[in-house]
Structure formats: structure tokens, C-alpha cells
Symmetry: C2
Subunit: 142 residues, 2 copies
DNA sequence: CTGCCTGCAAATAGTTTGCAAGTTA
DNA sequence: TAACTTGCAAACTATTTGCAGGCAG
């Protein structure tokens, strides 16, 4: 019956990352969101608790956590300016994004077989792929 | 037996776009590339012919041509900062990018069926999707 | 107490915008 | 000649970086 705070502390410790208040809070926001979140969004949430925090701190930590494979970076906007980050729970997946309200639905990957075929056909060593699907959610369609 | 210049002029006229030297040259570069090209790349090529051209002119025209569905905008870098544009020849397709030399191979879309299924499962109205596959080309693997 | 981390300010990269002068139809 | 386009400079947005003081281990 561990507290979330302790679980996340252990995630940090287990990756040789020093524990700071900022890191704990950033990671917690990502963990609880269960969806990709932008740096700016993290900033706006966190500023209420830690008024002196800066965007640079957010970015430094999001990048650090991504390097350690604790987070994944994804680009979801149609006009790819802003990145989002999501807590990485170990499974390769993709996203369906509502272009009206930005709601995000995770999708299982439909390309496992395709990748193998592609590797044969092109003779490339396939490393990774990304899929983004855009649509309008039932709520916004009304 | 039409000249390329005339073909491209007609593309512009047909879309109610005024013909300027800059537009003709930009479109020609995109047409002849047969692969996505960045604004910066267009700029560096075109500066040799039109030394006074500015990046802003390139961007304005790439965006205009995209709005008219003459070009498609795609984001191919793993770290999505820079956009590329490609001449749109009418077929929906995707890209396999070599993460070492940036060579690009167009891919047929493998998701036609999947999209329909997804629409039923999620009740979203599916609008579009993007796939990028990353790999290492045979040449770079050596 | 040593090195990593943060706040802060400034830089960077890609892209966009306002404006006056030049060009197209 | 009216409307649109361009060169030019400056602005803008997301993100990164250098530095000095502060905090974690």
C-alpha cells in the first residue's frame, strides 16, 4: 500500500536521479495525467504550488526523464510546433487526437507485421515509427 | 510536349495564384525534388538564382501553395522542429526516413482498413493520419 | 562539502508579420 | 491603377543554455 509519492521517488532513485521538489511534482503531474502533456501545461499547473519555477526547469527535467525512458516525447498537434510528454508505461502505442478539443485516446499499434514486411522490401533496418490519427470526437461533432 | 515551366505556370493559374518569378522557381524546386524539402533548403538553392530572395518569401509561398493543395507539409525529423514540403501528386502516402542520411522513401498507406475499424470502435470521425517510419538505409548501415 | 540543480536572463532556431516599395493582371 | 507580392527588419514561439547561488547526498 505504497503512497504515490514514494513510488515516484523510487522511480527517480532507481534511475540515479536526484530527488528535488520540482522533479517530484513534474513527474507526478505526468503520472496522474495518463495522457501526453505539454511543458507549458506542466508549467501552468505547477506554478500554483511552486511560484518560482521556470519553464527552463520544466524542460530540463522533462528531457532528463525522457532520456531515462521514464517519459516519452510525442508531437500531437497537426502543426507540429509543440511537444508533449507522457509517462511511459512500457507499451509502444499511438494516439488518436480530437482536432477540436484535443482529447487524446491511446491506440494499440497496428503496424507490427507491416514493419517486418517493410524491412524486407526496402532493406532498411527499421528502428521505430510514429502514427498520429486525427479525428473529431463524438462530443465535438454535435 | 509542354515545357515544365508552362505546366507549372498553369498549376498556378489554375489555382488563381499570380505568377511571380519567385513562385515559379519555388514550385519548380519542389516539383523536381520529388521528395520533401525544407524551407531552408529551398532558400539555399534559390539564392543562387535570386540573390535578394528572403526566407519570409519562401515561407509565404510554401504556405500558400499548401493551402491550395499544391504542396503537402510534412514533419520528418525525429525531433520535430523543421517542416518539409513536397509537391502533392494526389496520392495519400507516408515516409520512411533514414535517421543517418535523411534519405526519404515514400510508402503506400497501410491503414485504409484500420481507419474504418477505428472509426467504428471509437465513434470518432476520422479525418486524417500520419505515419513516419524511421530506419537506417542499406548504405548507412555499412 | 562537493557536485548537481534551480532561477533567472539571454540566446537560439524556425517561422510569421508589418510595412513601404515594386510588380502583376 | 487596384490589388497583390516582395524585401527587409523586427517580432514571435518553443526550447535551450550560461551562470551564480542554493540544495541533495
Amino acid at each position: 500500500m505504497e503512497k504515490l509519492e514514494d513510488i515516484l521517488k523510487n522511480v527517480l532513485k532507481g534511475n540515479d536521479i536526484r530527488i528535488t521538489r520540482q522533479r517530484e511534482e513534474i513527474l507526478k503531474i505526468l503520472y496522474e495525467a495518463e495522457r501526453p502533456v505539454t511543458a507549458k501545461k506542466v508549467y501552468s499547473i505547477l506554478r500554483k504550488k511552486l511560484p518560482y519555477i521556470r519553464l527552463s526547469t520544466i524542460y530540463r527535467n522533462l528531457n532528463l526523464l525522457e532520456e531515462k525512458d521514464i517519459l516519452r516525447k510525442v508531437e500531437l498537434n497537426m502543426d507540429n510546433r509543440e511537444s508533449s510528454f507522457e509517462f511511459f508505461r512500457g507499451e509502444h502505442h499511438h494516439h488518436l487526437v480530437c482536432i477540436s478539443c484535443q482529447e487524446i485516446i491511446p491506440l494499440e499499434c497496428p503496424l507490427a507485421e507491416y514493419e517486418k514486411r517493410l524491412q524486407k522490401e526496402t532493406n532498411y533496418t527499421i528502428i521505430d515509427h510514429k502514427i498520429k490519427v486525427y479525428g473529431i470526437c463524438p462530443e465535438c461533432r454535435k
